[in-house]
Every structure is written in structure tokens, then in C-alpha cells.
Symmetry: C2
Amino acid sequence: MNISAASNAAGLPAKTVRYYADIGLVPAPVRSEAGYRSYDDASVRKLVFVRRAREFGFSISECRELLGLYEDRRRSSADVKRIATARLEEIAKKQRELQSLHDELAHLVDACRGDDRPDCPIIDSLGNPRSEPRMAP
Amino acid sequence: MNISAASNAAGLPAKTVRYYADIGLVPAPVRSEAGYRSYDDASVRKLVFVRRAREFGFSISECRELLGLYEDRRRSSADVKRIATARLEEIAKKQRELQSLHDELAHLVDACRGDDRPDCPIIDSLGNPRSEPRMAP
DNA sequence: ATAATGTTTCCAGTTACTGGAAGGTCAAGC
DNA sequence: GCTTGACCTTCCAGTAACTGGAAACATTAT
């Protein structure tokens, strides 16, 4: 399998596949006589593993750790669960942050007439975070 | 005001304050005789504006655009609302993605015993995304 | 034989900073 | 007057995780 076949099978751009071997995340593939990278199913499975883990938001270094566990027939599931649980908590935290961001911004968008006049609570709020949009006197 | 006073007032690291002037996001401050950057309240207000906008997830280039609107006494609120609404939609999309990520990962963490045995649905799922964790035969 | 496509390496750029080194400045204390 | 320490300067490099592009070689199709 050349790199484009492998990258199709793995669901990753070829550039990324090369990159993952460059940084040593996955082993460097064997080469054809002409120097072309040659992939087998096991390599593709590892690439898929990495892609999925990345989609879950695991960092490259977490992927490294997970790949190590993936390949270690004797690892405990507790090791894996620990990493995944930490990641889960990060996701939940990010969700809470996004929620308050969303609420605050939605409030401002609602308050903005969106017409051709210059008054705009969004801009006002960015410049004067403590002041509420001013009321009619 | 020297840079650390300004950066305190703006709630940004001094490095970042310098950086924002370097990339032309905010105007370069005047300098003292010795070459120290000197800030006034108006500069600090702009820095606060940028910090807030960044906290809302606006990119630097969006901040550039918003700052332009902030400084333009004749802009329409519609221009601002357009940018903010687009950003709001991005936030909502990100929220939906995070939600499904969270659900999927939480499901896997629940399914993992987390003991010292090697069987682990999390790892299995990463390697074989289509196969459900295997049942007792 | 030639053209189109696939592959290689390498270098640079992206985003938004952050860290650190080497050196100049300022205010306080002795 | 001198030292100490805090503060400031510039510049270079690095981060994460790729992505884009150029120049050159290989393979395949016509």
C-alpha cells in the first residue's frame, strides 16, 4: 500500500501520515526500492487508532501514551481509564466555559438592534465590561 | 504608565501587550527617553477591549476588525452584530461537537472496569471503531 | 515518447503567544 | 558613590499539530 492508499484507509491526509512517522508517533514504514513508503494493515490500524484518539481530543503526547497501552498486551484497563477520565473532565470543563460564553454573547447579540446606527451594546460591552448597556435616561 | 502597570490594568501579560503592538493590532505606544513604553488610559482601554474579545473566542483578525469598528464613530451596529452572530454560531457548533464527544467517551469510560486486567473497551473502541465491546460468548 | 499522476524531501508558514538570554535603566539603601 | 534588585529593552527560538508549496524523481496511461 502506498501512502495515499494508506491515508485513505486511515482517514488522514498523506501529509499527516508522514508527519506522524516523522515525530515518531508511529513507526517509520518500510520503503520500496524507489523509496516509496509501504504500509500494511497493521500500520493502518495504528493510524486509525491515532485518528480516533485525536478526534476525541487527545493530544499527540496522550496519543503516544495510549498507543503504548494499545500495544502492551499486559497493560491494565485502569491505566487507560485514568487517561480517558481526565480527558472527560477537561471536556466537561470546556463545555461549561463555552456555555457561559455563549450565553453572554447571545445576550449581547439580542440586545443589539443591528441597524445602521452606531449604538451597539456588543461594542460597548467589550470596551466597558462593567457597564451594562445604557438605558434611556 | 510603564508596561507592567498597563498590563496589570488590562489583565494581559506584558509579553502579550508587546506582541499586540508588534503585530499592529494596537498602535505602538510612545516611548520614554530611555526607550520604555508609555501607556495612557486610552491604550489600556483598547487592550481591555482586545482581551475581552479574545476571551469571547474572537481571533486576532476578528479583533482587528472589531477594533476598527470600535474606533469608528460612524459604523453601524449591523456590522458588529454580523460578526458576533457568526461567532455565536461557531460556538454553538463547537458545543454540539463537544457534546457528542463527551457522550461517546463517557460511554466508554463507564464500560471500562478500570481494574488491573488488560481488557478495556476504550482501547478496543479506538482500534476498532465499528466493533462494540465484545460480550461474554 | 510524453503527459499526468504519485511520491519524495525539505523549507516555510500558520496561530497566538511564551520563555529565555543578554543587556540597559531606575529607585532605594548604605 | 556603589550596589542590589526590580523593571525594561530587543531578539531569537520554541510551542502544537499540522499544512502548503517547490523541485525532483517514479510510475502509469495514452
